[in-house]
């Protein structure tokens, strides 16, 4: 064959397959319990997605149990100041000593300037970071999808005003707005949640509205009316469930970004107050020590953030490919 222009590629998404493979190739499937099986299969076959799922579960687990299983109190100084982590080769031995021989647990990740155990703080931090990020993302989504549905479904001057407000909100510089909201209203967890919810609200409004507008001309909407549903029922029973997918995908990404923003705020000094165990704050406390060579204070919480956000992004991407 002399036509080298069509390299054998791979098909990425079901959508691609729909587009390029003609329908007779897709065998009519017998209806089964679908969703769960798909996800389990996906988990087994896609490494990146599996990685993401593990990260998501681990982060949620630590958010609940992190402070309970940490060897030291994350907020109580041990007296050992600026101790580096033990050599990685000694870790198995130390592990056996601790678990089976009842020795004092070592400072796996070292300690910081005030003698706080970095390992304990790193695994306790999800309680703060995840709590803020999950609640803020879920709140944003709940409020945003409802408002987006109303704005897309009902053409009314009130919904017009709503969209203009959302536009305005979106024109604000995200990071600075969050800093203002948190710093001026008091650097508490609740205030950070409120600030993040407001900052991420326009995305969900916009996404849902766009999806609703896309669904409105679909036949099933008209069919729902023709059957005799009220407008309210058409909106909430038929259109809403079919407009949630983009928001659900966005949710995972938003949780990632919310963790990033939470830690970023503490890093610049406008987030939670020290000595709360929080990744961004830990990095900030360790930052001045970096140029002195004390790398461990910042590196472990940083790796934790990096992996967590990547995990959420991978899950978001995996879902996006399937449900787009």
């Amino acid at each position: 064959m002399n036509e080298p222009t069509n390299p054998p590629g791979h098909i990425e998404t079901p959508e691609d397959i729909d587009q390029h493979i003609e329908p007779h190739m897709v065998v009519e499937t017998i209806p089964t319990k679908r969703r769960q099986i798909d996800l389990v299969k996906k988990f087994k076959e896609e490494k990146l997605f599996a990685f993401g799922v593990i990260i998501v579960f681990l982060s949620i687990f630590l958010a609940f149990f992190g402070p309970m299983i940490s060897p030291y109190d994350p907020n109580f100084a041990t007296g050992n100041v600026s101790v580096g982590p033990p050599n990685i080769l000694d870790w198995p031995g130390l592990f056996i000593d601790t678990v089976f021989l009842g020795a004092d647990p070592p400072h796996w990740f070292g300690t910081d300037n005030s003698g706080l155990d970095i390992f304990s703080r790193t695994i306790s931090a999800p309680r703060t970071d995840l709590q803020i990020a999950l609640i803020a993302a879920l709140l944003s989504m709940a409020i945003g999808t409802t408002l987006g549905l109303l704005a897309g479904f009902f053409r009314h001057f009130l919904t017009e005003i709503l969209m203009r407000i959302s536009d305005l909100l979106q024109a604000f510089p995200v990071f600075i707005t969050a800093m203002i909201l948190v710093a001026l209203s008091g650097r508490s967890t609740t205030n950070i949640v409120i600030a993040l919810t407001i900052v991420y609200l326009p995305i969900f409004i916009r996404l849902t509205r766009a999806e609703v507008l896309g669904q409105m001309p679909r036949g099933y909407v008209e069919a729902a009316r023709a059957v005799g549903n009220s407008e309210f029922k058409v909106a909430f029973k038929h259109v809403l469930p079919n407009s949630l997918v983009p928001s659900l995908i966005q949710l995972s990404t938003t949780v990632g970004f919310a963790i990033l923003l939470t830690s970023g705020l503490s890093f610049v000094g406008a987030g939670v107050r020290p000595p709360t165990a929080e990744w961004g704050l830990m990095i900030a406390l360790g930052a001045p020590q970096i140029i002195l060579g004390e790398w461990w204070q910042s590196i472990f919480p940083g790796v934790a953030i990096s992996l967590t956000i990547f995990g959420y992004a991978a899950v978001g991407h995996g879902l996006e490919e399937d449900y787009r």
């Binding site: 036509e3 209806p31 679908r34």
Partner: protein, 623 residues
């Protein structure tokens, strides 16, 4: 004739064929699954100047095969094996530059989705010029002028302005003409046309195919016409090739094919057409014309306001018609004729601007929207696109439960029983009860949709192009089902369609619409055998009936209309007769004289003063 014999035929006559395809296979790799062969062991020969119709159900690989005649496959597909000999040389063995030069020069291509086949961000003129320059050593200016002249040649008004347009600014008909301009500009020896008229109206389709036929006969180009439409094949092709699951299963000349189809698939798709040919009122139930009408529409209009403008879209103007119990009334017309809007207005899915809708002796146009919801159980609708009209997250069971919940007081057990009964009525297997729409075939989806419509025991159903998204085969089944249901349950239908073949089969009476106005109403026989209004005549003449007895290309006069349908906006509408400017029988008086729907002696009504005064001869239809 089946594939093996076809192969031997190819081998015997190799020298005189312009295109010869042997053992072609096209593979699509799929991650996490076995590869799929869209085309396999495909053999075909085309003689110079021959018109070959390549038919098959959607997904049989016909488009992929047609594209591969150019040595191209849409990524990520690959041509796995085979030869594609063009004028004796295998294009799969040529170097890329040689093949490239042949594409567009020796082999022309016209595709479906003309608007998506033009680059969205470039001027149409530049794109034509680029193709011209790819095959001719000319400068930019000259190529641009060539583009203008090409557009003029294919009959586009004001080519100097249109040449600067972008794809989204053209209508599909116009975009398709741009593609034909590109394809024909080099007088190719072979033209591949992949469903070139899908989405075009019948009168435009006829114009387009006539033009293609004439130009190709003149240049003695061979044509491979990929289509699903038996009418097109019967009227334009010399030979028919049927494809099924990636390979050719039948290859016959057009007369033989329509007389004695061999393959099972061919026989099935021809069945409906045959019955339609022979259909008299015998197949249809008798209607009691003295019974009071179940639905009477009186002087109904719908104007849509245009945002930021004084003018309006005149979707429907002064519609008057009535329906008896158990009757099927056909509503035919091209896009922009307002047929869909009438269907929506009758059900008040769209609120009519004025007029009365008397349903079972009550004017339902006056009822308040919230109260009207209770009536919806009696007036139902089946939509065009079955997949689209079912909630994608709902199983058949959920879909059918909803009308029962809203309009009946059945107990949960009774509901389950009723659902089983409905499934049985529309011929759905009990196993489909918990299927999602996307897990069913289009035919089954439409059955589910019909089941939803009859769930609340309505007396009247609007059928809005219920078969136009279906294959010819499924169309036959669904039409049969609808007729059975009407006979069993006594439901009256308002059957909206642009496909005259199905209308001819199922309807008692027919309403012809043009630009929002009813131009002719009569019994099926009146309208089909002896249409009176010039538009009805042109519409019927342009409609390609799958009948080889009187092929359009053999006719001396091919009755058709000039130009395109104007969009029904206030300032676009003609002052007098709406057909003025396109009508073959027009006189000066028509320009300023608004037309009235006039009842003739034979019971039909026609909106044309010349017909009413007997100016125009009363002769049978041309088809």
């Amino acid at each position: 004739m089946v594939a093996e014999t076809n192969e031997s035929m190819v081998a015997g006559s190799s020298s005189e064929n312009i295109l010869e395809v042997r053992d072609l296979s096209v593979r699509f790799p799929i991650v996490e699954g076995p590869d799929v062969f869209a085309v396999r062991d495909f053999n075909l020969a085309v003689k110079p100047g021959e018109f070959v119709g390549l038919m098959g159900e959607p997904g049989c690989g016909k488009s992929t095969a047609a594209m591969s005649f150019l040595g191209l496959v849409r990524p990520p597909g690959v041509i796995e094996t085979g030869q594609i000999n063009f004028a004796g040389d295998d294009i799969l063995k040529m170097d890329e530059e040689t093949v490239r030069q042949m594409r567009g020069r020796d082999i022309g291509m016209i595709v479906q989705n003309p608007r998506y086949s033009l680059h969205p961000m470039m001027r149409v003129g530049d794109q034509i010029a680029n193709v011209y320059r790819a095959h001719n050593d000319v400068g930019k200016r000259e190529a641009w002028e060539h583009a203008v002249s090409m557009l003029r040649m294919v009959g586009i008004n004001d080519p100097e302005r249109r040449v600067k347009a972008y794809a989204h600014e053209l209508s599909s008909g116009m975009a398709q003409r741009v593609l034909i301009a590109i394809a024909l500009s080099s007088q190719p020896k072979l033209l591949i046309a992949d469903e070139p008229t899908s989405g075009l109206d019948v009168t435009i389709q006829a114009q387009f195919l006539d033009q293609m036929w004439d130009s190709c006969r003149q240049a003695s180009s061979a044509v491979v016409l990929v289509t699903q439409d038996l009418g097109i094949v019967a009227n334009y092709c010399d030979r028919v090739v049927i494809m099924h699951e990636g390979t050719i299963v039948e290859d016959a000349d057009v007369y033989t094919f329509f007389e004695s189809p061999q393959h099972e698939y061919s026989r099935r798709i021809l069945q409906l057409q045959r019955e339609a040919q022979e259909a008299g009122d015998a197949v249809l139930g008798k209607i009691d014309r003295t019974a009071p009408p179940i639905l009477e529409v009186k002087d109904m209009s719908k104007l849509f306001p245009i945002r930021g403008s004084e003018s309006k879209v005149h979707a429907v103007e002064h519609a008057d018609f009535e329906l008896r119990p158990g009757e099927c009334l056909g509503l035919v017309g091209e896009s922009g004729s307002g047929k869909t809007t009438i269907g929506r207005c009758v059900l008040r899915l769209v609120e009519p601007t004025q007029g009365e809708i008397v349903f079972q002796e009550r004017n339902i146009a006056e009822i308040r929207p919230n109260e009207f919801r209770k009536f919806r159980g009696d007036l139902q609708i089946v939509f065009q696109d079955p997949l689209d009209s079912l909630n994608p997250r709902w199983t058949v069971h959920q879909v059918l439960s909803e009308p029962l919940k809203l309009h009946t007081n059945l107990s949960p057990e009774e509901k389950e029983q009723r659902i089983s009964e409905l499934l049985n009525l529309v011929g759905l297997e009990p196993s489909m009860r918990f299927a999602l729409p996307r897990e069913m075939s289009a035919g089954r989806q439409q059955r589910a949709s019909i089941a939803r419509a009859i769930a609340s025991n309505p007396d009247f159903i609007v059928l809005d192009e219920p078969t136009s998204a279906l294959t010819p085969e499924t169309t036959a089944e669904i039409i049969q089902l609808l007729m059975d249901l009407s006979a069993k349950l006594g439901i009256a239908y308002l059957f909206i369609s642009h496909d005259l073949t199905t209308v001819k089969y199922i309807c008692h009476r027919v309403v012809v619409l043009y630009l929002g106005q009813i131009v002719e109403v009569g019994t099926k026989d009146q309208v089909f055998n002896q249409p009176r209004h010039p538009y009805s005549r042109a519409l019927l003449s342009s409609h390609l009936f799958p009948d080889t007895a009187n092929r359009r290309v053999d006719r001396e006069v091919r009755e058709t209309l000039e130009g395109e349908i104007p969009s029904p906006i206030t300032e676009n509408l003609p002052k007098g007769c709406y057909l003025y400017g396109r009508c073959p029988s027009q006189v000066d008086k028509c320009r300023d004289l608004p037309q009235e729907l006039t009842k003739l002696d034979d019971g039909r009504s026609v909106r044309c003063w010349r017909v009413a005064e007997g100016d125009l001869p009363d002769e049978p239809a041309a088809h």
